[in-house]
């Protein structure tokens, strides 16, 4: 077993709104082993982004971590004072977002933005930082790297901006790279280029935690996958097991939605109903309202995340019996 570069333990985070507590992240545990790509998949609003934001210390008011730990290469980071968190962010752990425009400064040349981390964390002299930046731009496939350093973000295409974001995240060679929907805003031919780049980064030894709602992206990239639903992990397994022997009815519903679309035919598979309101989660299993197999006990009691062998875990009362719906 590789050691875990990132370990999220029983993380819970909520938004304290006027209407009450929105439990966006509920007792989430995630492990990212060294040199692996781990994915979080789930529909919008299920808490994927808040999980990683909480773990980076980037939750905004009225959001707050209410419990749990995050261990980065053997060091707990949630309890660190803000100053030390800042020192780690962008250095030992870095993040790439869906929309580069929200995280790039529009009035600063991208070269300066990329070298800033080196100057801040490494105290590197300007000339040397510039050389590093050119090398990193080349590594992430930005053509005419030297010239590009003096571009402003708006002068770059969406694909190039995302490459700049990745270069910025990778410049200090972080132990863990977190990518939140890094290709969702991109066209499919550009997405394919970025996915290939992420694969390459990982083969160079970086540990990656990637969030996506796209099962295609997850299947192509990840070694191990966590499925989230309404703030909780409902299933986790290595990618092959998850796609070929999914046990949770929600995972199966997601997969059959996608595969029926690819198969064609008259009626597409769907999951009935909508995601529950995180303000008023059902007492039992959060999926019970939409689940065909729902029984009395599903409505009443929350199933544990049960280990069914080989690192495959499922939060369903029926999972242990090896039944298939």
């Amino acid at each position: 077993m590789e050691k875990n570069m990132l370990e999220i333990r029983h993380l819970s985070a909520s938004f304290f709104t006027q209407k009450g507590e929105v439990k966006a992240v509920n007792d989430v545990c995630i492990e990212v082993p060294k040199g692996k790509i781990v994915g979080i998949v789930g529909e919008s609003g299920c808490g994927k982004s808040m999980t990683v934001r909480a773990c980076m210390g980037l939750l905004k008011y009225p959001g707050r971590v209410v419990g749990g730990e995050a261990w980065l290469d053997g060091k707990e980071i949630l309890s660190l004072p803000e100053k030390e968190k800042c020192a780690i962010r962008g250095d030992e752990i870095a993040m790439v977002f869906q929309d580069p425009m929200t995280s790039l400064n529009p009035v600063v040349r991208v070269g300066k933005q990329v070298t800033e981390a080196l100057r801040l964390h490494r105290n590197m002299p300007a000339a040397e930082a510039r050389r590093e930046a050119v090398a990193m731009f080349e590594a992430v496939g930005i053509p005419e790297a030297k010239k590009r350093l003096s571009s402003y973000p708006h002068q770059l295409s969406g694909g190039l901006r995302q490459r700049v974001m990745i270069a910025m995240a990778m410049i200090c060679h972080p132990k863990v790279l977190i990518a939140d929907e890094p290709t969702t805003a991109l066209d499919v031919t550009v997405e394919a280029q970025i996915l290939r780049l992420m694969k390459k980064l990982c083969s160079d030894g970086t540990s990656v935690l990637i969030i996506s709602h796209n099962l295609g992206v997850i299947a192509q990239l990840c070694d191990y996958v966590y499925v989230m639903y309404a703030g909780r992990i409902v299933e986790q397994a290595d990618t092959f097991t998850l796609f070929e022997e999914p046990l949770h009815p929600y995972t199966r519903g997601l997969l059959s939605s996608v595969s029926s679309l690819r198969r064609g035919g008259d009626k597409l598979d769907t999951i009935p109903g909508v995601v529950p309101n995180l303000l008023h989660l059902p007492a039992g299993c959060s999926f019970s309202l939409r689940c065909e197999r729902c029984e009395e006990k599903c409505r009443e009691c929350l199933p544990d995340l049960m280990d069914v062998g080989d690192g495959h875990k499922v939060r369903c009362h029926f999972a242990g019996r090896g039944e298939k719906a």
Partner: protein
């Protein structure tokens, strides 16, 4: 689907003026037919002109070039007044129903709007009854009659947009990325609904999407767009199983497949990015990204040529000669 042509465009173009005499060539020389009752899918990457084309075809935008026929009558230079007899036949649904539904109106009033505009129902009561029928047809519970858009989920809002679009039995609905903002399970619910409604009511769809799987599922015929032009148009099955334009082939191969067993397939990726629609390349618009481009492609712009029911704008129809990856197995 029938042989009756509902709508025909010939060399339709739209340029948007920019400062200093520059122009965006949003749609260039597009010729196509839409048949009664069919679904014509339009695919292509963002900025390739899909939405502009959709709006040109139902005259929400006026073209800067080309001609347009509706049921055999040329309407290119019709005034809005003259066109109004066709107006109600042509409806539009959007990607983001939230942006297109007035937040201060109830579901009832939103759906009743076209009914009132065309004086379909004699009384207020009859209108409400008609609205309830429409809500039932699109699967929104009648008890939500007086709810506001923000009280609905994304999928339900899209259903309300659909109810409004079908309210006056249009002949064509332009669906502009109608499921792109929805999660996959909800997206499938809406696709099923659109299909069922078409079976019952027989209207045609112009279905615009950047998602090839969605377009493949819903369309009878498909047009692939690149930089404001159509590079390939034909029956959906043919386009997806045996693409002939190299761009279609690259587009299909780029889709990340939801099957981990297929992750090691190394496919050739398109290099670079889409050229600017302000400065169009000489020759074939695709030649700057096409690995098979020759001198001829750099000089001479290919036009759509018809061959065995398929029209392709490529001098060589290169796509047909390449090994296949994503296009073959599924969808029989």
């Amino acid at each position: 689907m029938s042989d009756h042509v509902l709508l025909e465009a010939v060399n339709l173009s739209k340029e948007f003026p920019l400062s200093r005499g520059k122009r965006v060539h949003a749609v260039s020389d597009v010729s196509l037919k839409v048949y009664e009752g069919e679904t014509l899918g339009i695919v292509g990457e963002s900025g390739c002109g899909k939405s502009t084309l959709g709006r040109l075809l139902i005259r929400l935008l006026s073209p800067t070039g080309g001609r347009l026929w509706f049921r055999g009558e040329e309407v290119t230079s019709f005034s809005d007044q003259a066109f109004s007899k066709y107006r109600r036949q042509l409806q539009l649904i959007f990607q983001d129903p939230y942006a297109s539904l007035d937040p201060r109106m109830t579901a009832r009033d939103i759906i009743a709007e076209p009914l009132n505009a065309y004086h379909v129902c004699p009384t207020k009561k009859a209108t409400t009854e008609r609205v309830l029928e429409l809500m039932e047809a699109v699967g929104v519970p009648g008890e939500f009659l007086y709810r506001y858009p923000h009280q609905f989920s994304g999928g339900q809002r899209q259903r309300i947009g659909i109810a409004r679009a079908i309210a006056i039995d249009p002949a064509l609905i332009v669906c502009d990325e109608p499921v792109s903002a929805l999660d996959v399970s909800v997206q499938n619910q809406i696709l099923n609904l659109l299909r069922d409604l078409q079976k019952e009511r027989g209207m045609a769809y112009l279905f615009i999407s950047h998602d090839l799987s969605v377009v493949r599922h819903i369309s009878d015929r498909v047009a692939v767009m690149f930089l404001g032009t159509i590079c390939e148009i034909g029956p959906a099955k043919d386009i997806f199983e045996a693409p002939q334009h190299p761009y279609t082939r690259f587009l299909l191969d780029a889709i990340p497949q939801p099957d981990p067993r297929r992750r090691d397939e190394e496919v050739p990726l398109l290099k670079g990015e889409i050229p600017s629609p302000v400065n169009l390349p000489e020759g074939c618009l695709f030649h700057t990204r096409c690995p098979y481009a020759t001198e001829k492609c750099r000089r001479e712009r290919p036009v759509l040529r018809s061959e065995a029911g398929r029209e392709v704008a490529c001098h060589y129809r290169v796509g047909a000669t390449l090994p296949q990856k994503n296009s073959a197995p599924e969808h029989v």
